[in-house]
Symmetry: C2
Subunit: 227 residues, 2 copies
């Protein structure tokens, strides 16, 4: 067990060094970076698709790109590209989280597609769907966004405390399903503020678009005018 803990510490230290390098690189390029984390199926991809649709109504939409991590398939990257977002898939195989070396590989592949970091306003990193392991891996992001959907039950922040504790912003997704699933709003907000009292909290529906306009400025984006 000791050997495992020591190795884990070494790996995290190695990743932290990588994160410091990435953070410098992002700052030099003047790009904001958001790390999206959640359970599988909480709606990370759907949120990005909805945000992209909303931004497309702007005269001069911001320039975004996405690095998407998944064990297998590039389904999410395909969905995002179909929504008009440049996206590269990092297939992690057995790995349960993204780490800095994978983000660097993703940046390299974006560059190969002619997308330089300095041209972007916002880089989105959609992590592997997992409420445990990705918490410990800093990816050099400026903002950590943790999603929890109304369908998952109100005690998830208490049960998966480290990842919520690490969040700058908690998005309660699928708010359109609140009635259908008997969502306990008060208990969910109480659980979030207990483990992440510093975090902003937003209720969002990717389906109806509700909450998206409140999300935009937090991501550093202007709210598109409604046409």
């Amino acid at each position: 067990m000791c050997r495992e803990l020591t190795l884990q510490r070494d790996l995290l230290r190695h990743n932290d060094a990588g994160a410091a390098g990435l953070r410098q690189r992002f700052a030099a390029a003047g790009v904001r970076v958001v790390n999206l984390l959640s359970s599988p199926g909480s709606g990370k991809t759907a949120l990005l698709e909805a945000a992209c649709r909303r931004l497309a109504t702007q005269d001069k939409p911001p320039r975004l790109a996405v690095i998407v991590g998944d064990l297998a398939t590039d389904n999410d990257a395909q969905r995002l590209r179909a929504a008009g977002l440049p996206a590269v898939a990092i297939t992690t195989g057995q790995a349960c989280h993204l780490e800095c070396a994978m983000v660097e590989a993703g940046l390299h592949r974006l560059e190969h597609q002619g997308i330089a970091l300095a041209q972007l306003d916002l880089l989105l990193i959609e992590n592997v769907g997992n409420l445990v392991c990705p918490a410990a891996y800093d990816l050099g992001e400026s903002l950590r966004l943790v999603l929890v959907s109304t369908t998952e039950g109100e005690d998830k922040p208490l049960k998966y405390a480290p990842i919520f504790h690490s969040a700058d912003l908690v998005v309660i997704s699928k708010i359109d399903l609140a009635d259908a699933v008997g969502f306990d709003r008060a208990a969910t907000h109480a659980a979030i503020s207990r483990v992440a009292p510093h975090a902003r909290v937003l209720e969002v529906s990717a389906r109806s678009g509700s909450g998206l306009d409140a999300l935009m400025p937090i991501l550093g984006l202007a709210i598109p005018a409604t046409r």
Copy 2:
């Protein structure tokens, strides 16, 4: 990276040895053991609560006990005890999965509560909510049950292939929400049969009880007569 892989292999080998020991112990005690795995919030605890309610209608209900793994809180164990199921919580801290040593600790705590393995018909192990890491850890179970809820999206089996591939039984949970979430039944079943062609598949609603009577015999339990 090599050192990490070697250590991972050592840990899995150590766990496999533990699983062989547990499997012998379970066989000697004549107890069936089910390992329940899913994302956070797919309804593992709700399924066990519903099964327990259904079984309570029997004249001579089977003897069950549950070992529940969570990073933090004993919420699920409390819910299960309230439903009439003897349950002990294993709090894993940072650990993203249960392993054999934790199951042994859980058995020890059940024994301290006067619940001997040989008295049980069925031992349920509710794993940490995680579709990645628990896949590799054999717990000596006789049946591996992986849940995926209708709210999570139809491509989860393809994206988290190893855990579905390891399943004996896949339960599609929250089937009562199928219409509300626009559940794509055909795509979900196709995804499951692609990565787990050997697995049985059941659609279940813990809320309405639908599918529970089909589940009982697979768990080795008699279907309770409807009173």
